[in-house]
Assembly symmetry: C2
Homo-oligomer: 363 residues x 2
DNA sequence: GTGAAAGCGCTAACAT
DNA sequence: ATGTTAGCGCTTTCAC
């Protein structure tokens, strides 16, 4: 007798303040006079429930202001609808653009991004990875700090779809979206050698960062080519981070190299910007006394004083492709790991132009 | 009899592949031969459990590779350890810096940031707010798109600690961290009027964005002051977004205003950058033919060609303070809503310098 | 088409 | 000091 058509749910608990009480599916069910299962069906299988019931439930949802809990959903279904994005520094326009690319494709699928800046700290990366794993992110987009990918491979092995951002996987089996940094470094250095510079400096980030190591390798390659014609020097100045501040700091070291280089290439545009600032202050004319080449071709590179020669990378596309690889891996039944590699492109501007100062031209 | 000192847990389910099976507290308990509660205590109340037991559990955690589930934790405890960050555009350096400020203080407290770019779309903001509410974020930092804050006030009323970023709450009871934008607009316009310009344009974002409206109001205020001495014109050119592209687009409208303004102030540095680009291409000399003033004083403003006069905002501090207000609100028992307001600062550079072209000086 | 009930992984109150 | 147990809010069988 007690088991009639109408469920005999207890009324929702009252007494708590509206700020502290969260509406659950149970209250909706009570109000609509249906069972929990039916409310759930309205939410997830709308087709299966009769129209009048559906309406009642929808009204009850509206009236109570019910908002489903992802946590509870996740506990049952195993999907958190979040993607972890771990990068060196979100305030670096290169990474920010990449994030936009990724967000653009993931947003529409209902994912939300957990964005984590590591500042090139291995410890911070480790901690963030831990937290992201605790959150059971449905995917991970990461520009790793460490050369050694074992932590990341561990996560991937545990079933977290993972795509390396701007970093390839080496022998590890991982998806990646990259730009050919060796080629990029070669383009930058080759350009300077071709302009006639035979003593150039490379203000680079820590070689533990793969991008930095690769770009240096490319520069060395360009040098080898140049050396067939004439003797050249390529010296590396290492800084701790790919930031404006570190670029500014590097100028001291740059100017005290002997013999002083006539050109400098930088690991990214932020460093180049810092260098440009300090060179200007020091009265060193660019490009006459010192040619400068950056990397990334960020939005403002063309409007710097002087306009900065740089190596363009498809930032937005990189993020978008990475996100697509991630979805492929997360949803595709039998996924094959894929690596997408873009080609960088040299953009020549005035900061490396042939000297225009009368009598100071180099060729 | 069955209730001895050792728990009689069933063995963990086997059979699933390592990629799909997640280790739970239960398996750890089984391996360490303790109860679920003890494992939980090791995790949350380490002091209360005996050292040898603790060791056994810790070893079991290590051996199984157990990682606790935030979702399950959240379901019990009600804390998600996430903070939603909703802003107009993460690739805008102004917002990126703010996020860094917030991340800096929240990271150490174990929070992870869900970063959402709305691109000034009300619809997108609405959807993101919904998703963040479903995730039960422990807090919300937001630069709202809409003038009307009712959606946000609703969230706050439901108990989500909320801090407005770079936007004050009006009559609503909300925390906020802001910069005085009216004052900023007044500084920028006042500077141009003082330089002798009496026909200036303001390339502004949609007036629905509070910052844009305020800066315009400040400009109008400066104009009122200038008018006491002489007649002046202030015309507004509206663009859809605070981006480089929109700045570029605005140049057409700017140059076809009659009589053509001798100076332009911009709603932010990205717009100013776009304008600078196109003016240069069009052969319009800055500042001789057109003075340009930006807003935000982003890192590269001083190195543009010409160096850009701008209004400096304490970006990092803004984010950091907002995060601290959030923590205060989330943790403090009887929290009073607070608003922190910073003062903007005019940074004069060459883009607005008095004309240096002989015979073209304006005063 | 709808209801009842089990259980996702964890914590906390209580029992021993 | 450790074990047992009842849920947190939801989805998903399986009955009816």
């Amino acid at each position: 007798m007690a088991t009639s058509g109408r469920p005999q749910l207890p009324p929702p608990q009252a007494g708590l303040t509206s700020a502290n009480r969260r509406v659950t599916i149970r209250e909706v069910a009570y109000l609509a006079q249906v069972s929990l299962g039916t409310v759930s069906n309205v939410l997830n299988n709308p087709g299966v429930v009769a129209e009048p019931t559906r309406r009642r439930v929808l009204d009850a949802i509206e009236e109570t202001g019910f908002v489903r809990s992802t946590a509870a959903h996740q506990l049952r279904v195993g999907k958190s609808r979040t993607v972890g994005v771990v990068l060196l520094d979100i305030s670096n326009p290169f990474f920010a653009e990449m994030v936009r690319g990724a967000e653009g494709v993931l947003r529409d699928k209902g994912y939300v991004l957990m964005v984590c800046s590591t500042d090139e700290s291995v410890e911070r990366e480790r901690r963030y990875l831990r937290v992201l794993e605790e959150h059971r992110v449905d995917g991970l987009l990461i520009t790793p700090v460490e050369h050694d990918l074992c932590e990341i491979a561990r996560l991937a092995a545990r079933g977290v779809p993972t795509v390396l951002l701007d970093r390839d996987s080496g022998e590890r089996e991982l998806c990646s979206a990259t730009v050919d940094d060796v080629r990029g470094g070669e383009l930058a250095a080759g350009h300077l050698f071709e302009l006639g510079h035979d003593n150039i400096a490379f203000v680079n980030g820590p070689s533990s960062i793969r991008q930095c190591a690769d770009r240096h390798e490319g520069a060395v390659r360009a040098q080898r080519r140049a050396r067939r014609r004439r003797p050249t020097t390529l010296r590396e100045i290492m800084v701790n981070a790919l930031s404006v501040e570190q670029g500014e700091k590097a100028v001291g070291a740059l100017l005290s190299l002997t013999p002083r280089p006539s050109a400098v290439m930088c690991a990214n545009d932020l460093i180049a910007l810092g260098i440009l600032k300090r060179l200007t202050e020091a009265g060193v004319a660019v490009p006459q006394d010192m040619a400068v080449v950056g990397y990334d071709d960020v939005s403002f590179a063309s409007m710097l004083s002087p306009p900065l020669t740089s190596v363009r990378q498809p930032k937005y596309e990189l993020g978008a492709i990475a996100a697509e690889l991630l979805l492929e891996e997360a949803l595709g039944a039998n996924h094959k790991h894929r690596s997408v590699r873009f080609e960088p492109e040299l953009v020549v501007r005035a900061s490396s132009g042939p000297s225009v100062r009368p009598g100071a031209s180099r060729r």
